[in-house]
Symmetry: C2
Subunit: 258 residues, 2 copies
């Protein structure tokens, strides 16, 4: 049994804890959170504390708090030489305090409190300085997922950057189109099949193969009509910059001209 | 039986024809294409011609050729007073020739030749000038889909603009992240679960509720790290503009400052 303690219990802490609770190889010994919270019923049997001094012995301590708070928080821990990991995509391993053995346990997924998560497909990116800690994190990861990968802090930051494009930025595209439809009393549900198909396509095609649309075709007539509708806000700028990027990628200047 | 003829047989012509072939209420009488093509085996029994003069009588003629060619092509048809529709999101009804009754039959989906399409969920946006033609197109649409909607040319253009954001622009986000991973010898498949979840989330949450990430949180430290990795190409500009748009939307200037 790998014994773990959660330090911080937001979205990631909750989802990891819930998933580990169902595993036979991992035991969640405790949840620490700086302020009092009531644990959801699925994990209500796990002991809880708000006192750093009461944190129990474990094999792995999982810090699951906002990126900016990780470094300072890791310094406040009163124990030493334990494996302490964070769950962030963009914080380097070295941000963690020297007092303990450092590691990373980064689940490459977007978590929200009220959505169900199936961990088996989610890549878990792990990192540690000592080989035995890598083995430990590998076993911990395999308790949840079939896709556990050892990657460096540098690679993880690039993965996180790529994740920002396919998650945060894609969602902002949804947001802009939802606003366009709302202004015109058209339901966002009209776009659902297209959203699903767009995501599904890149399971079998590369994104470059899947690219279509007025920008790719250099269809200036349609682009003009769209710009006319967009007015002068940030949606226009976003439209123009992405259109330009697509045009440059698929119709380089020495080829067909705009 | 509604008798239809396809005028042009690219992606949309093929997929519509294939779907109508399976319906009991629609009969595909003929495919016209300006150049000789061999019809795929699924639809090989449909009569084919490359001669405008040989086009047979039907209830609805479906022009499925590129947007820019629709207007001029509709003028070259030798018959009159028939219902002639196009399948475009961005071309107005009025682009069609006055010689015939005008209509639109716009399936709101992205089609590629080699992908299987399930029409039942795809919104079909119809438009026509005469009430009886609306009824005819409604019946035609219902032969394929449960979601047939009457919308105006103006609304359709807005829907098409929204579709460009959730399809073409989203796919370009996939493309950028795929390039970032490729440069670092990381497989694009690592992002698949995140891509799927991002699309799935907006089935139950609004895009605004689903928005997360460094831009939304005004996490300038992470944004700086990302910009550092992006260098000076168009990916940087795209990152900056979308980040700015998200920041302005969720952290207006009088609130938390960047
Ligand atoms: N959300 C995701 O989709 C996702 C995905 C992959 C990785 N991650 C990473 O996982 C980590 C946690 O993210 P999250 O989304 O779970 O965050 P979150 O939901 O915002 O978690 C907040 C938790 O952090 C605690 N906390 C906040 N500031 C603190 C501080 N200064 N000192 C100590 N505790 C503090 C909060 O305690 P109180 O209850 O007392 O406020 C709460 O328990 C981050 O590193 C993030 O980058 C997130
Ligand atoms: N693809 C999509 O995802 C999608 C989705 C919804 C709506 N639409 C709309 O559906 C329509 C067709 O799109 P598509 O993707 O099917 O196009 P496509 O695959 O590019 O179709 C090309 C077809 O148009 C013919 N064609 C090209 N130029 C022509 C001209 N000047 N005169 C006569 N025929 C010509 C071609 O004939 P040859 O074989 O002789 O070249 C071929 O049959 C467009 O209005 C488009 O906006 C497309």
């Amino acid at each position: 049994m790998i014994r773990i303690v959660f330090l911080g219990f937001g979205n990631v802490g909750y989802h990891l804890c819930n998933a580990f609770q169902k595993s036979n190889t991992v035991s969640v010994c405790q949840v620490y959170n700086r302020s009092v919270i009531s644990l959801p019923s699925e994990v209500a049997t796990v002991p809880f504390t708000t006192h750093l001094s009461e944190i129990v012995k474990a094999d792995v301590y999982i810090i699951a708090i906002p990126d900016d708070a990780i470094a300072a928080f890791s310094e406040t821990l009163s124990f030493q030489n334990k494996l302490v990991v964070h769950t962030s995509g963009s914080v380097p391993l070295t941000a963690l305090s020297e007092k303990n053995r450092k590691g990373v346990f980064y689940p490459l997924q977007s978590f929200s409190k009220n959505s169900v998560v199936t961990f088996s497909e989610i890549p878990i990116c792990i990192e540690a300085e000592e080989a035995s800690d890598i083995v430990l994190l590998q076993t911990l990861g395999e308790a949840l997922s079939e896709k556990v990968t050892v990657i460096t802090s540098e690679e993880r930051l690039k993965l996180h950057l790529a994740a920002v494009f396919v998650n945060n930025f894609v969602n902002h595209m949804y947001s802009i189109s939802s606003a366009i439809l709302e202004e015109n009393q058209l339901p966002f549900s009209l776009l659902q099949p297209l959203i699903a198909e767009t995501a599904r396509k890149v399971e079998t095609l590369t994104p470059d193969e899947a690219q279509t649309g007025p920008a790719k075709r250099n269809d200036t007539k349609t682009i003009e009509k769209h710009l006319h509708l967009l007015g002068n806000g940030s949606n226009r700028t976003v439209y123009q910059e992405i259109t330009k990027a697509i045009q440059e990628k698929y119709n380089p200047p020495h080829g067909k001209k705009l």
